[in-house]
């Protein structure tokens, strides 16, 4: 795996998908980092003391010489990100963390995304060259992003919204259970990314596969021990041993 680096990048575009979601496209100074699906980058605005820390964002894709991040407005840092313009400078560390492992031969990749969890599963789906199944849920249609593009890079795309505005009414977990009903669980390898509650629910279904967790991170590079995740073998670092963990490894409370 390529080792991480610290680099500056210029914003090329900051496209608003809808009221809360954006795609930030940046051109790194120097060479394009070689990231793998599941890895992430720490992103910040140089010189600012408030917010002080960089924030983690999943590797989404490289498109036309630009490194892209799919992000949702959440608090202080993402609010500042959302007003970045072309030409503005950001500072980035990455690629960081462990990527999603490849499935054993003959197993079908089943991607389960909740909300912005799609950001890291999108490049994974792409890497499977149309073979993946994707189940994707959100609270409403605004939280289901890029569905047309996704359809083009997977075999099946199942959608669920809690308000029923798109796809099945319910959570992605409902969708997953329905999908698995009567099927042989062992045929699939699950890749799940989304809110903690969703990952917990996925982990309780006795499936083989991986979850990608989100923890608050100070450094992203493994030195602060701030991103501890409780696992069956003690605390592990979400940024270093994770963010991708085998199902069953993380102890959700």
């Amino acid at each position: 795996m390529s080792s991480p680096s610290l680099f500056k990048a210029k914003v090329i575009k900051n496209a608003r998908l809808n009221v809360e979601h954006f795609i930030l496209s940046v051109r790194p100074e120097g060479i394009m980092p070689a990231a793998q699906p599941g890895q992430f980058f720490m992103l910040g605005i140089p010189g600012r003391l408030d917010p002080l820390l960089k924030r983690p964002f999943g590797y989404f894709r490289v498109k036309e010489d630009a490194l892209e991040f799919l992000y949702r407005l959440r608090g202080k840092a993402t609010a500042i990100m959302s007003v970045l313009d072309a030409g503005d400078e950001v500072e980035i560390i990455g690629p960081l963390g462990e990527p999603y492992p490849l499935p054993k031969p003959k197993k079908v990749p089943l991607l389960v995304a909740g909300g912005t969890g799609i950001a890291s599963l999108y490049p994974l789906a792409d890497a499977f060259g149309g073979e993946a199944l994707i189940l994707y849920g959100g609270r409403n249609s605004d939280e289901l992003l890029l569905t047309e593009e996704l359809r083009g890079i997977c075999r099946v795309l199942g959608l669920a919204t809690e308000d029923g505005s798109v796809g099945v009414k319910g959570t992605v977990i409902d969708l997953l259970k329905e999908f698995l009903a009567g099927k042989n669980k062992n045929r699939h390898v699950v890749y799940a990314c989304g809110p903690r509650g969703m990952l917990k629910a996925v982990s309780e279904l006795g499936l083989e596969g991986y979850v990608s967790v989100e923890e608050r991170m100070a450094c992203g590079i493994g030195v602060c021990l701030g991103c501890a995740v409780k696992t069956s073998t003690g605390h592990k670092r979400a940024c270093k041993e994770g963010p991708v963990f085998r199902i069953g490894e993380v102890v959700f409370e």
């Binding site: 610290l6 820390l53 590079i221 030195v223 991103c227 501890a228």
Partner: protein, 304 residues
């Protein structure tokens, strides 16, 4: 390399006055991907205890205005694994290695110190100021009698390495504790450790970190750190290692002027893993810009 940046701490000569702060550079491996560790004045490693500690349950960190709170709770591999697995890696670099230790009793500190001394570390920093572990540690940093006893005992166990005592910013009188460390033969004191602090998530009405209280670090505390370094360095003759919010050469120069002989970079590493290098280069720039011959000319150079 010129000797312009050289400083001395006890018998140790540092090629420049910039170290990492304990707990912000791990045991060196991760940072070595971002710069050559040999460029540092010294590397101070994550605090270790006699036995491995699991640390506090998450969440452990939260950002605050120009700072952050952490309650890692001294998660560490323990003395044995440190000596067997971590020390060999860092010893490959041409950089003085300073181990940071925390115990719950005088005996534990003494054992840690003598084993590490034998294992060949260049310095031992006694953390008597960690706000994030329930017993031990900070108790020594707040009780002058216990503090005296601790330093005396540990001093007897350390033969090769230099002995640094890291003071608690909550010490009732920083000058008194500084002098106590000096009296008992410490080679240097370091300060400040993080300041006990708290943040609350008002949407769930819970503390933002599981441990409720953690330690505040980063630029927010720099003015407090600078004041304490100023006071401590006027109270003692041994070198003072200053830290708290340093992120650039200018900040380091402030600590040197206030009386520090060396500085440590902590939280800034999280923002920028190359921060210690930026600080070294920033100090060099300052020397050039203001025509200062050598860094030691700055130490305590504040004009009152």
């Amino acid at each position: 390399m010129s000797k312009r940046l050289e400083v001395k701490i006890g018998k140790l000569t540092l090629k420049n006055p910039v170290m990492t702060a304990s707990g912000t550079a791990g045991y060196g491996a991760e940072l070595s991907e971002f710069f050559d560790l040999s460029r540092l004045g010294a590397i101070v490693l994550k605090g270790i205890s006699l036995k491995p500690w699991p640390g506090n349950p998450p969440p452990r960190i939260i950002e605050t205005p120009s700072g952050m709170i952490n309650a890692i709770g001294l998660q560490n591999v323990g003395l044995k694994a440190f000596i067997d697995e971590k020390l060999p890696f860092i010893k490959k670099f041409d950089v003085p290695v300073i181990a940071n230790v925390l115990g719950t009793t005088v005996g534990e500190y003494a054992k840690l110190a003598s084993r590490l001394d034998e294992a060949g570390v260049d310095g031992i920093e006694l953390n008597v100021s960690c706000p994030n572990v329930k017993k031990g540690g900070i108790a020594f940093g707040l009780d002058l009698k216990a503090f005296y006893k601790l330093i005396r005992k540990v001093r007897g166990c350390v033969k090769q390495a230099i002995l640094i005592v890291k003071l608690s910013p909550g010490a009732p009188d920083i000058c008194e504790f500084s002098r106590a460390a000096e009296d008992e033969g410490a080679d240097a004191i370091s300060l400040i450790n993080t300041i006990p602090a708290m943040e609350i998530d008002i949407s769930c009405r819970k503390p933002s970190i599981k441990n409720v209280i953690g330690g505040l670090s980063g630029p927010a505390i720099m003015p407090i750190a600078l004041r304490m370094v100023f006071q401590a360095s006027r109270a003692v003759k041994i070198p003072v290692i200053g830290m708290g919010g340093i992120r650039a050469g200018e900040d380091a120069v402030k600590f040197l002027l206030a009386g520090a002989t060396a500085v440590a970079v902590g939280t800034a590493i999280f923002v920028n893993p190359r921060a210690p290098i930026n600080v070294i280069e920033g100090i060099e720039d300052y020397l050039k810009r203001f025509n200062v011959e050598k860094v030691s000319d700055l130490i305590g150079g504040l004009q009152l």
